[in-house]
């Protein structure tokens, strides 16, 4: 009251001493002053009123939440129902809380308006079913009985005895090898049964850890192993942030995140031979501090430092002998054992940046600099107990496709290729990066803005703390054969620490925005950027310090590289480090690209955005992007590939020594480039239309459609056919979807007080108010289809063979469905020692499309001025739509066509429900 009277007296003085009655405006102004003072909105407000920032609210707010999922709420997944199951596996609890408000320590510190914290904790306990349908050997095959085994055409698959191999005296080298002109004679096992005495005891012992078939999806004996296995995952983490206002011009923000998680992958086998992914313990931590300094009303400086670490440790799984189970690969059957059974890694990133931006006239200028130091610490023996690859060659009729089987070769214990990882020490990789950027946003005129920017990006090569890195120098002479290509180690004999140069590049960008009609905005932009070669979580490039002894068959059709019963024994007594120039000879040698070519990306876009009456916004645009020097893995790049012209040597290529002589660097079997070889190209063009609608009636809607075409010379699960002619590999990008339609919506139902309907103000309001419905719908067309021939009889020259196109046969069918998605008769298996003439991916055939409809229904109940309870029911794939699996794209030879080609086995998906509850205060 005293305050009010004082204010009024002041008002009187201000309005004049003649005691004229104040006007309405003057009364309003005075009321404003009085109320704002009482509410703590002014500098001269009593301090006690200032703490709550003028609100009546509690000082601390937060929420408690729980999200629950269970298979009893879900539809049975289609893939489970199709295998005769009647329930999935799911139990999940996700819980946590959030608390936010001013920092307050009684009698010590009261943050008031200045210091604010947020603390969020979230934990998850989960058991979730994963499914897999695979092919494994029949019980008869395991016992050596192949009398009932058939090829993909349903004809008997003949298994031959390698011990019966003999040179065919009648062989005519001038003719191609065929059943009429065999180079080697070899007798089939009598009755197509491998005698028990011939079965390798190591293989037989290993097979005790291999499960029995449990399904018959077919065709024939294929797809005979269905697994529904739980992943057991836990996670717990928190985010803490503190925001402190130092002065009106300075602010500090600190954040700290931590998360611990155990990711338990599904088990394909309940034994030490499980080929599934390992259980991984994950720990991540990050912290950062940001200081914002408003130098003047037109200039701001932002300084920040951060540090983060992400650690992973694979849970060890040991066999009876106390060692990890070896990896046995005998495609097309599911393999045994896995890579990296015992791996630990930590990725640390330290960053500091400073950015200054200011406004001068019509220019907004900005400069920034950033320093990033990245570390990867890793111990990762990939195959400590060995990796054994088996091929059909040993049990085939040499030179004749569709004979023999990789698993039969395994039963005999003869491997075509084997390697073992010998890791002596962990690696401590380092990589620095510096960036300096500048930019100007210039308002050229009313409604016309031009932005330009330039970034100087300087990246150092990967180095190792103790210089424990090695690569092959393609120009150094190898003392073993006098040819170029020898092992070098970091920091020795003139080699640098990182094998690659420091790279400094300029990344330009420019954009323009022009409002040329009322509510119509046109935008155009262009940018080019270079991407540094990442530091992978792998010990690639340390071969002189951590060896990979390798066993290669002299001729995989005739002799094994090693046998299981004899095991892998290193020749000589190699000790590590082994820095001899020839130390990597006869192996798959790690090769670090020496020039440091960086992936380069370019993009441009053009769009027009028009705001229409009714709060509609329509945007139409076109995007183009392309890239070169994209980093490729072994399937996309092979600097030691044999040119395809060598296919003319035909069956001689099965001789490893002959074939090796054709390689550019014959001392190496091939090179391991580990997703770091900069040779890929891509191009993407996309047009799109987006419609957004916002309404004050609580409706928000966004719909978009995109048509895109993306092509490249590297993508796909199989690899490329010709490493020396990348133009021939230019085809549709695997995984790119030409058509993409999406719809998102939120509708706050107009029920309850202050709303259109059911505006009861009594108890019924608690039922009526607070309902909302949200949804996300996406429909995409299928990926471009990649077709593969069933057999690759090129002597190992071609990694990924394309099919041939049958002229005049339409690959499309009128009504694509699970029985026939495409016409396999339009394609054929290439003849022996020839390449396919079809493109890597088909230009018009697509895999089945996908559609998904997610819906969430929410109900909020206000249970106090600041307390509310929200219940949510979320349905993923709400309508329980089944998406088809991909068809079988394997094209067999005319003599034994794959009867399953073009057919689809089953579908996947199923409705998943989640019940959520959140109490907010």
């Amino acid at each position: 009251m005293r305050v009010a009277v004082g204010a009024l007296l002041a008002a009187c003085l201000a309005f004049g001493q003649n005691a004229a009655k104040p006007t309405e405006l003057q009364r309003a102004i005075e009321e404003f002053k009085i109320q704002s003072r009482d509410m703590g909105l002014r500098e001269d407000s009593p301090s006690v009123t200032q703490h709550n920032n003028g609100t009546r609210k509690w000082r601390w707010h937060g929420r408690l939440f729980e999200n629950f999922r269970s298979d009893i709420l879900d539809a049975v997944p289609h893939e489970v129902a199709q295998r005769g199951g009647n329930k999935g596996i799911l139990r999940r609890n996700q819980y946590g809380f959030n608390l936010t408000g001013p920092v307050y320590v009684p009698r010590v510190y009261d943050g008031g308006r200045n210091t604010f914290f947020t603390f969020t904790f979230e934990g998850t306990r989960e058991k979730i079913g994963q499914t897999s349908l695979r092919t494994i050997p029949t019980m008869a095959e395991r016992a050596g009985d192949w009398s009932s085994s058939v090829d993909s055409a349903g004809q008997l698959l003949q298994i031959y005895d390698p011990q019966s191999t003999g040179k065919n005296a009648a062989y005519n080298p001038a003719q191609a090898v065929s059943t009429e002109n065999l180079e080697y004679n070899r007798a089939p096992f009598p009755g197509n049964r491998i005698p028990t005495s011939r079965l390798d005891p190591t293989a037989q012992k290993a097979l005790q850890l291999y499960p029995a078939p449990n399904a018959n999806a077919g065709p024939f004996f294929q797809n005979n192993f269905f697994v529904l296995s739980p992943e057991v995952n836990t996670a717990g983490g928190a985010i803490v942030s503190v925001d402190h206002t130092l002065t009106d011009k300075q602010r500090l923000t600190f954040h700290l995140n931590y998360s611990n998680g155990m990711h338990g992958s599904m088990r394909l086998f309940e034994s030490a031979a499980n080929p599934g992914s390992p259980i991984v313990d994950r720990r991540s931590r990050s912290a950062g501090l940001t200081h914002v300094f408003t130098v003047s009303p037109q200039s701001v400086n932002t300084l920040s430092v951060s540090a983060s670490t992400s650690q992973m440790e694979y849970e060890r799984e040991l066999g009876d002998d106390g060692q990890p189970f070896p990896r046995y690969r005998f495609s097309p059957y599911l393999s045994m054992g896995r890579a990296n059974p015992n791996t630990k890694s930590a990725r640390n990133t330290y960053a500091a940046s400073d950015g200054f931006s200011c406004r001068r006239g019509a220019h907004r200028l900005g400069v920034s600099t950033q320093v990033i130091a990245e570390q990867v610490h890793i111990y990762a023996p990939q195959y400590p107990s060995g990796d054994f690859e088996f091929s059909s060659g040993l049990t085939s009729l040499p030179g004749i496709i569709n004979t023999g089987h990789a698993f039969a070769s395994f039963l005999l214990g003869g491997t075509s290729f084997a390697e073992r990882s010998v890791v002596i020490s962990p690696s401590y990789f380092r990589k620095p990066r510096f960036l300096v950027s500048g930019g100007d946003q210039w308002e050229l005129g009313r409604g016309l803005t031009l932005s330009v920017g330039l970034t100087l990006d300087s990246t150092g090569p990967r180095t190792e703390k103790y210089n424990r890195q090695s690569t092959v120098d393609l120009s150094a002479i190898n003392p073993a054969n006098g040819l170029p290509g020898a092992l070098i180690t970091a920091g020795e004999n003139g080699a640098g620490r990182g094998f690659q140069p420091w790279l400094t590049k300029l990344d330009p960008s420019a954009s323009i925005a022009w409002t040329f009609l009322k509510k119509t905005l046109a935008r155009a932009s262009y940018s080019r950027s270079y991407s540094p070669i990442p530091v992978y979580t792998s010990q690639w490039g340390t071969q002189a310090f951590n060896g990979t002894p390798t066993w290669i068959s002299a001729n995989p059709q005739l002799t094994p590289a090693a046998t299981l019963d004899q095991g892998l024994h290193d020749s000589g007594s190699r000790t590590f480090p082994d820095k001899r120039p020839e130390a990597a000879n006869d192996t798959v040698a790690d090769l670090i690209e020496p020039t440091g070519r960086q992936p380069t990306y370019q993009s441009g876009s053009l769009s027009i955005e028009r705001e229409l009456p009714g709060l509609f916004v329509v945007t139409a645009g076109f995007d183009h992007s392309d890239g070169r020097n994209l980093l490729l893995s072994n399937s996309g790049a092979n600097p030691n590939a044999i040119p395809l012209t060598s296919l003319g040597y035909r069956d001689q290529l099965n001789n490893e020594a002959f074939k090796r002589a054709l390689r550019p660097y014959p001392q190496y079997q091939r090179f391991e480039v580990y997703s770091s070889w900069p040779e890929g190209h891509y191009k993407r063009d996309a047009g799109y239309v987006r419609v957004e609608k916002r309404s004050s009636a609580g409706v928000s809607l966004s719909a978009s459609y995109e048509f895109a075409k993306q092509m490249d010379d590297y993508s796909g699960p199989y690899g490329i056919q010709d490493f020396y002619n990348r133009k021939n590999e230019w085809s549709m990008t695997t995984g790119s979807t030409p058509h993409r339609l999406s719809l998102t919506y939120v509708y706050e139902l107009p029920f309850g007080p202050n709303r259109l309907l059911f505006h009861n103000t009594d108890w019924r309001r608690y039922i009526a108010e607070g309902w909302s419905v949200s949804g996300v719908t996406s429909v995409t067309s299928g990926d471009p289809m990649g077709l593969r021939p069933q057999f690759n009889n090129t002597g190992g020259v071609v990694d990924a063979l394309n099919v041939n196109v049958v002229p005049g046969v339409d690959p499309h069918v009128s009504n694509p469905g699970p029985e026939q998605w495409f016409n396999p008769a339009a394609f054929s298996q290439p003849a022996d020692f020839t390449v396919g003439d079809a493109s890597r991916t088909h230009p018009s055939l697509r895999m089945p499309g996908n559609q998904n409809h997610d819906v969430s229904v929410n109900k909020r109940m206000a249970i106090g001025p600041e307390q509310s309870l929200e219940l949510s029911l979320v349905g993923l794939n709400f309508i329980n739509h089944a998406n088809w699996n991909d068809p079988d794209t394997m094209i067999g030879p005319a003599s034994a066509p794959n009867v399953n080609a073009g057919r689809i086995i089953g579908s996947r998906g199923g409705r998943v429900m989640q019940i959520g509850m959140r109490f907010s205060f």
Partner: protein, 306 residues
């Protein structure tokens, strides 16, 4: 001379009329003869109608925390528009960062406002959602005791991710691959918008919002749709700028609506029961924008009642 403005009414409190603010997109001011008022479906008696020539208090609340390239044009446009306001308009200036704070009391001097706006620091956290309730309380208090026209204009570049409170529900456990709880990320935003909407359910002053940056990701869409909802529910409007060049026009549009605003005092009888009032205003030939429903506990128009 009234000596007890904030303590007691100057005269004995009579049944307070219901005050409805409205504005026109175009056309001449509405006169008493033009205006037809219906409350809950029945014709209501119009006690008083203000005109655009009557006194106006405009409270400008700045919530500027981000990009200088947006903020500076907004400041320039705002200063220009304020300078063009008629002399019967008293403009007060507040900022929303770290709680609502008064920068300048309402007054008719535009020069001082220009200096303050031009010299305002912009670093900080978004504070718009926390400013609505105290601002509504402040304006309700003024409207309950004076007959001025009153509007609040919020100028903001706020992003929902820049609040001190967390409305974005960021991922805590990156290893949790089967998390569905963030499939619909707008839940916390919608909850907060509805809470604010309840808080200002009985507020009388229309809210006008100029948001300097239109965004279309899901969280931003929920946030900006919520602002649209809040403004419309109060009888005001929200504009979102798609480009820097849109800012002057958006601020001018809002100013145009504010200065043409009129208020109608309507006779209101009801019991002390909380009740929703459906309002319908009609003036032939003109499209009127106004608050269509209000939650009131009569006869206490102008007070928050829930």
């Amino acid at each position: 001379m009234a000596l007890s403005l904030s303590a007691e009414p100057a005269v004995k409190q009579e049944r307070a009329p219901l005050r409805v603010s409205f504005w026109r997109s175009a056309g001449d001011p509405v006169t008493r003869a033009d205006l037809k008022v219906t409350l809950n479906g029945t014709d209501a008696k119009l006690l008083r109608l203000s005109s655009p020539s009557d006194d106006l208090v405009l409270l400008v609340v700045l919530d500027l925390a981000g990009d200088l390239s947006l903020v500076d044009p907004a400041r320039a446009a705002l200063i220009a528009e304020l300078g063009a306001l008629p002399p019967n308009t008293a403009v007060g200036l507040l900022r929303a960062q770290d709680g609502l704070r008064v920068l300048a009391d309402p007054g008719t001097s535009r020069e001082k406002l220009g200096e303050i706006i031009g010299g305002l620091t912009i670093s900080g956290r978004a504070g718009l959602l926390d400013a609505f309730e105290p601002a509504a309380r402040l304006t309700d208090s003024i409207l309950a005791k004076t007959r001025v026209r009153l509007a609040i204009l919020y100028v903001t570049d706020s992003s929902i991710g820049n609040y001190r409170e967390d409305y974005t529900n960021p991922v805590v456990n990156s290893s949790d691959a089967n998390d569905m709880s963030r499939r619909f990320p707008e839940g916390l935003v919608n909850e907060q918008i509805q809470r604010v909407k309840n808080e200002i359910a009985g507020a009388l002053a229309p809210i006008f919002i100029v948001h300097l940056r239109y965004q279309n990701d899901r969280l931003a869409a929920a946030y900006q749709t919520g602002l649209l909802d809040l403004a419309a529910a109060s009888g005001g409007e929200a504009e979102f700028c798609h480009a820097v060049g849109d800012i002057p026009a958006a601020i001018a549009t809002m100013m145009g609506a504010i200065v043409t605003q009129q208020t109608a005092d309507v006779e209101w009888h009801d019991s002390n029961k909380l009740k929703q009032v459906e309002i319908f205003l009609e003036a032939e030939g003109r499209t009127l924008h106004y608050r269509q429903r209000m939650l009131l506990k009569g006869p206490a128009a102008g007070r928050r009642s829930n």
